[in-house]
Symmetry: C2
Subunit: 447 residues, 2 copies
Amino acid sequence: MTIAFHHHFRNGDYILNRVVAAIAQKGIKGLTLAPSSLNDINEAIIPFIEQGVITAIETSGGRGKLGRFMSSGKLSKPTIIRSHGGRARAIEAGELKIDVAFIGAPCCDASGNINGINGRSACGSMGYAMVDAAYADKVVAITDNLVPHPVFPISIPQTQVDFIVVLDSIGDPQGIASGALRISRDPRELLIAEYATDVIEHSGYFKDGWSLQLGSGGASLAAAKFIKEKMLAQKITASFGVGGIAAPFIDMLEQGLIKTIFDVQDFDIPSIESLKNNPNHLEMSASYYANPHNGGPIVNNLDVVILSATEVDVDFNVNVITDSNGIIMGASGGHSDTAAGANLAIVVAPLLRGRLPMVLDRVNTIVTPGETVDAIVTERGIAINPRRTDLIDNLKDTRLPIMTIQELQKMAYDMTGRPEPIAVSDEVVAVIEYRDGTIMDVVRKPL
Amino acid sequence: MTIAFHHHFRNGDYILNRVVAAIAQKGIKGLTLAPSSLNDINEAIIPFIEQGVITAIETSGGRGKLGRFMSSGKLSKPTIIRSHGGRARAIEAGELKIDVAFIGAPCCDASGNINGINGRSACGSMGYAMVDAAYADKVVAITDNLVPHPVFPISIPQTQVDFIVVLDSIGDPQGIASGALRISRDPRELLIAEYATDVIEHSGYFKDGWSLQLGSGGASLAAAKFIKEKMLAQKITASFGVGGIAAPFIDMLEQGLIKTIFDVQDFDIPSIESLKNNPNHLEMSASYYANPHNGGPIVNNLDVVILSATEVDVDFNVNVITDSNGIIMGASGGHSDTAAGANLAIVVAPLLRGRLPMVLDRVNTIVTPGETVDAIVTERGIAINPRRTDLIDNLKDTRLPIMTIQELQKMAYDMTGRPEPIAVSDEVVAVIEYRDGTIMDVVRKPL
């Protein structure tokens, strides 16, 4: 059987570990675990994988001890890593068949209507859980906040919920959402953010009614500050903003710079409050967000997305999953979905991380294919995908340090030398699915 | 192929007739027409049925010329009549497979996000269309109000829409929604409404947090007036109200007597305005409303429903489809769904219609089975289903004219004489499906 969980509680999640422990206690083995993502807190399940309770994982990625464990080859099957849109697609297509979805419910009534905006474990949008609830054979709502019927607004309807379990506590509010995510003060990140904003300004997409998504990484979030300044100065408003939502976006919404927010997940308390109170702030499912095989996910309407990267290569391919030792340490998330959907996909990253160059001949793990990446912005130079002659043309008269990706790579290699390739075995420990289900790459067990 | 339409535009609908005419022009024949319901205006399709463009109908019922046509046996297959919940169930189960859903969209953006609350053809809730959009192979939105992306609130998401067609006009606002539906001034209807309210008051269900649905018939709607007075006097509030919504419910919502409204369809302009402006007024799909095979439709949470009837019988069975000549002249709607779901299902009707008694030995067409009907309220007497000994007990000390159903029937027959049975042929012209898909009854062609 396959069991699913949402990761809206992030490092405050009490549900996944507790349910897996309870399943283990019953002596059940051989399950596939299919959460929308995994967080550090979920490393508590490693012993249950070792005992064979869980023998396969299908998720967005892994971090810390769990990422290292996934990379170790100790699971009987390779982990399947999907983007958020790819997971929604796989569920709707029946490729990822969920037998039981366990859904942490911050606010739930006795008939099973659920929302994520009320209660001590409020997490905001329930976007990932919405797909699980709609398609799982059985849906178990787990709540620490059972309230009188009917709960509304309704994120997950009573028509999809089969069982309701009441616990004292389903999560740690401190771990679920932070205070307002603040803009970085790191000068390098700020410079990258400023360059990225300049690229947007001159790209041809920066005009009234445009739309944008910002990643939650430092430089990507910092771009909000500069974008906001330019929008105010030029009296430009955006029709919508998308994504995992954080305070800088809420600020732009409240100032009328963004007319609508589509929210699949909230990173901080101001975002949760905004979803609760602002009618222009809309909750959406992971399918509405990014499933490429429905009638049109909102990522396909995006003008601009700013994304992070672990490493990129001269073909503009991006890795966000494995580190410089080949170990799984990140998640696919909406990276490849938004890069493919947006008219302008900008990847921001420092040119060097410590003594390691960020631009390689070939990334260790391709998550987002280069043909969907339009610009790579570092603190020392900006490379535009040569397929985008229109962009190159639009940017040629700016003062931006535009160069070829090879020049960018050379600049890095001149400082660090050519990095040693990672030594890996033949054993495949993870499979990277693209949003449409094709296999984009595999992760091999590092030696 | 099967084509589907919603009936939210009622007698103002331009879509169904126009699409069927266009299909006929292409020379296509042998289609099944599966609208959520049909209105008088749709009698324009009769020639296309005669030409074989449409050879089968699956819907909620029929009225006027179309009802008489359905009863004539000229369709190659018997019409399948389903309740609103039964239709949602059949669609979700794959029994009613919709190839193309044509959806009149009062407000639509270029990506296909739709709502029913804005535009000159505003109809309010899109509840019936939501099921069609979610399950049809192809979805065609037809709008006279294409607005900038993104439309919100979103009743039907862009992920479900395949094509968008823009017309000058999709409906006649005068026919779509009336001004505020007013409470009847007919003394007989008011007396029936008052009796029904008294039954509710003493039933055991009239307490804080109760829930209710009122039909749109005269006596049933008039009950809102008396219920409201009793709720104010006894300081009782309802947790929710359900149904096709009209002004008297909105009045109760705005006075705080009803905390939430679940709205599958709007009958008048105040209801559309309320859906647009009041966050406690929630749109719901026909599946959420009444599909008995999902995890729990809202009708199953109902305490009380007041329903109309064409005729009832001594076993408490109700007919709302055929008239005293056996001709189809009504629709199943949510009748059997709410009767089954509610704790107390009250059927209101005059004891006589002209010279015809309303209580028969056996109704001509069973739509709602007697085991789900708890009380029959007329202006001359009230019969409680003998299965409901608890109700009989609760009502025994009131001044209400409680009697057996046989006494009620005798009172009618003493005035009218025993009615002649309707002469019918062997030919089945319509099949009445119960909410769960079982065949409840058939309609035979009258001689």
